[in-house]
Structures are given as C-alpha cells and as structure tokens.
C-alpha cells in the first residue's frame, strides 16, 4: 500500500474536469480547502499552481478526468491531498516525463517536474492504455 494513501481524511470533495472552463472553479475549490486548514499564502499558491499544471495535463493528454480534494491529518500537520485520476493514454516513460524540458506536446515541459517541486509529496502511477493517477500532498507548513 502506498504511503501517500494511509492518512486520516478529514474532509473530501470530488470534482470532474471535462473542459478548460472547469479549471478555474477547481482551483478555487482547492484554495477553499487550503484556506480552511490555515495554509500560508505562499504554500497555497504553490499548491494551486501545481494543481493547475496537473489538471491541464489531464485535459490535454487524457481529455479530462476527476480530482479528489482531501484534507488529511499527518503526524505533525494537516495537509491537502489531491488525487488526479484520468483514463488517458498513460505515460510510457515516467522518469522521462518528470525531466525538465521534456514534452510530447508543444508545451515548455515544466508542468510535471515543476508541480513535483512545488509540493511536499508527489506520486505518479501510470499504465499505458489505461490511464494515469497523480497524487500530491502539500502540508500546511511543508
């Protein structure tokens, strides 16, 4: 069992992401959750920016998917966990996808590695032809 999954969930919401207009309401929802646990503005901004990168990837490569937003309680701190789940083509080479400057699309190739740098914990699982699940956690003071 993945370590990122074994946390007590205090609050939870699920959002469907089907079109680009869903991105802003989604970001607002994440902000709402982060504000609720008293996350600092800088950490909120980092979390929401990472979320924005991941949700954009989901729309671009997998035509959308769903995101679970959770408030979780860790050992020392509360945090926000986001789970991005899509049924897209999957990622063949995750190590390569996490490298700065790599992109199969026409983007800058900083979305995935950048998102990873912005959060406290980052996990990605992908099966080619089945889909991708990205889980991130940002601790309140992390």
């Amino acid at each position: 069992m993945n370590q990122l999954m074994m946390k007590t969930v205090l609050n939870k919401a699920i959002m469907k992401i089907e079109k680009e207009q869903d991105v802003v309401p989604f970001r607002n929802r994440v902000k709402e959750f982060a504000t609720k646990i008293g996350m600092s503005l800088v950490n909120q901004t980092k979390l929401i920016t990472a979320a924005s990168e991941l949700v954009r990837n989901m729309l671009k490569y997998a035509n959308g998917g769903s995101v679970v937003i959770e408030i979780i309680s860790g050992e020392r701190d509360n945090g926000i966990r986001l789970t991005f789940d899509d049924k897209g083509p999957g990622i063949k080479d995750i190590a390569l996808a996490l490298k700065d400057g790599f992109s199969t699309g026409k983007s800058l190739g900083i979305g995935l590695p950048g998102a990873k740098r912005l959060v406290s914990e980052f996990d990605i699982k992908s099966v080619v032809g089945k889909g991708t699940v990205v889980t991130i956690i940002k601790w309140k003071n992390g």
Binding site: V24, V42, T45, K46, T49, R56, I110, L118
Partner: protein
C-alpha cells in the same frame, strides 16, 4: 465570449487582468493584443497582473509570447504587479519569464515604458518626464 479589455493610452496599451484566466481567454488576449499593437501602432504594452493569484506555466508562456510578439511589432512589454507568492512559485516551478520586462507596480511600469520609448509625445503625467 468573454474578453479582457485593452485600453489605449497615448502610445501605450494597458491591460489589467482582473480575473483568473482560463486558457481560451489567455490565448484570445495574446492575439487581441498583437492585433491592437498593429492597428494602433502602440509602442508599449503594460500588463497588470496584480489580481492574478496564480501564474502557471501556461500563463507564463502567454506572457512570454506577448512580450516576444510585441517586440517583433516594435513595442515594449512590461508586466507589473506580480504578487510575491506568485514570484516565489514561478521560480520554483522553473519559469523565469525570460524576455519579459517587469516592474513593481503600474506607475513604475509606465515610467519604464516611457524611458524605453523616449517619451516622444506623451503629454500626460509629465512631472516625471525626461524631456
């Protein structure tokens, strides 16, 4: 379709982004601005992003594009009012906004543009002018 208004002030174009943009809106702004630079012969573009709570790689790329496109059209671009949390996040994300000039606020951004362009025929606000 929503649009971000572009104001013409003397030889400058002013854009204040007051909402978090979804992608289509940002792409429209990019093409509208370049069209406006061409139509009005504007020499400077000032983009106020003080109301933006996040700038992700997409938005960063749009800002960079606007800067490069305007440059080709002989106009300077300055991005003003970035929130500190946004600046911290951008650098950690790995986006350095190269090729885009920035200023702390609208006033400093205007001064920057005026200095760059040589303040040819800008009658407004000439107390700080460099004639």
């Amino acid at each position: 379709m929503d649009r971000i208004p572009i104001l013409k002030m003397g030889q400058f174009l002013l854009v204040t982004i007051q909402i978090d943009l979804y992608d289509r809106l940002a792409v429209n702004l990019e093409s509208d601005l370049v069209q406006m630079v061409s139509k009005t012969g504007a020499r400077g573009v000032l983009i106020d992003i003080s109301a933006l709570t996040i700038v992700d790689s997409f938005m960063g790329r749009i800002l960079g594009n606007i800067g490069s496109m305007s440059k080709i059209m002989d106009a300077e671009t300055v991005v003003v009012g970035m929130q500190p949390a946004v600046a911290i996040t951008l650098i950690e994300l790995g986006l350095e906004l190269q090729g885009v000039s920035t200023a702390l606020n609208v006033e400093k951004g205007m001064l920057f543009l005026q200095e760059r362009i040589g303040n040819q025929n800008e009658p407004a606000d000439d107390e700080d002018g460099t004639e």
